[in-house]
Symmetry: C2
Subunit: 115 residues, 2 copies
DNA sequence: GCCTCATACTTGGTGTCACGATGTATAAGA
DNA sequence: TCTTATACATCGTGACACCAAGTATGAGGC
């Protein structure tokens, strides 16, 4: 299904992981907070079923550290923050992102009708 | 395996289809030619096993048209060109790409240490 | 005429991953 | 007590790039 926007889903696949790490760069945040921030700040709609698996994977890989905090809200929250490894990795990924988008941008310019 | 660069592969997934369509925007090209052009023009390394399935899918979806041409090289070549639908779709995708990268760029700026 | 070698396209199997749906738990408010 | 909002977790699914191996064609050497 969803033949139309199958591609945009593909596109997100690469970007979402980076987007989540970037969201955590300024400081710790919990799951739903990340979702709301992404939507408010970039119009990127992501659901829980998408974000939680990514957060789990990033934590398992040592890029994030998780910490339960109770008493702040109606429900205990699991806060995530970047580890040192996560920060290093984020820098690498940002770098990679920039060079990759530059390549695509170059193709886009080459594809435009001659000016 | 390849835990390290698993992400960069993910990133390519979204961009490759766009990159291939962009490569075909100026005119028709055949499979290996697309691979060589991407490598020469953008340093993007893609193998046959990656490109041909994408070309098949895009053709099946009506975005590309294929045509066998013999006598040009040592082997008959299958040339691909954008259809009208493909051109429309390419414009949509380019648009989508631009807005998406703008969102990530915004996150990157927000993640930088305050200047 | 045979044998490499480069060209060119094809295909099957594999692993990864976002996404939707569903479920569980907690506590405030009516 | 019953609803509602918050918050996190997970299973199943389908899509898809990638690797590897395979097929076909003709040119050049000897």
């Amino acid at each position: 299904m969803t033949e139309r926007d199958a591609w945009s889903e593909q596109l997100r696949r690469g970007g979402l992981e980076l987007a989540i790490l970037l969201t955590l760069a300024p400081g710790r945040r919990y799951g739903l907070e990340i979702i709301r921030h992404l939507e408010a700040f970039t119009d990127l709609i992501v659901t829980e079923g998408t974000v939680y698996p990514i957060l789990s994977r990033l934590t398992r890989d040592g890029l994030l550290a998780a910490e339960w905090v109770a008493g702040e809200g109606p429900h205990p929250r699991k806060y995530y923050r970047l580890t040192a490894a996560g920060r290093t990795r984020l820098a690498e990924m940002t770098d990679h992102w920039n060079t990759f988008t530059a390549k695509i941008a170059r193709l886009i310019r080459a594809a435009e009708p001659r000016p």
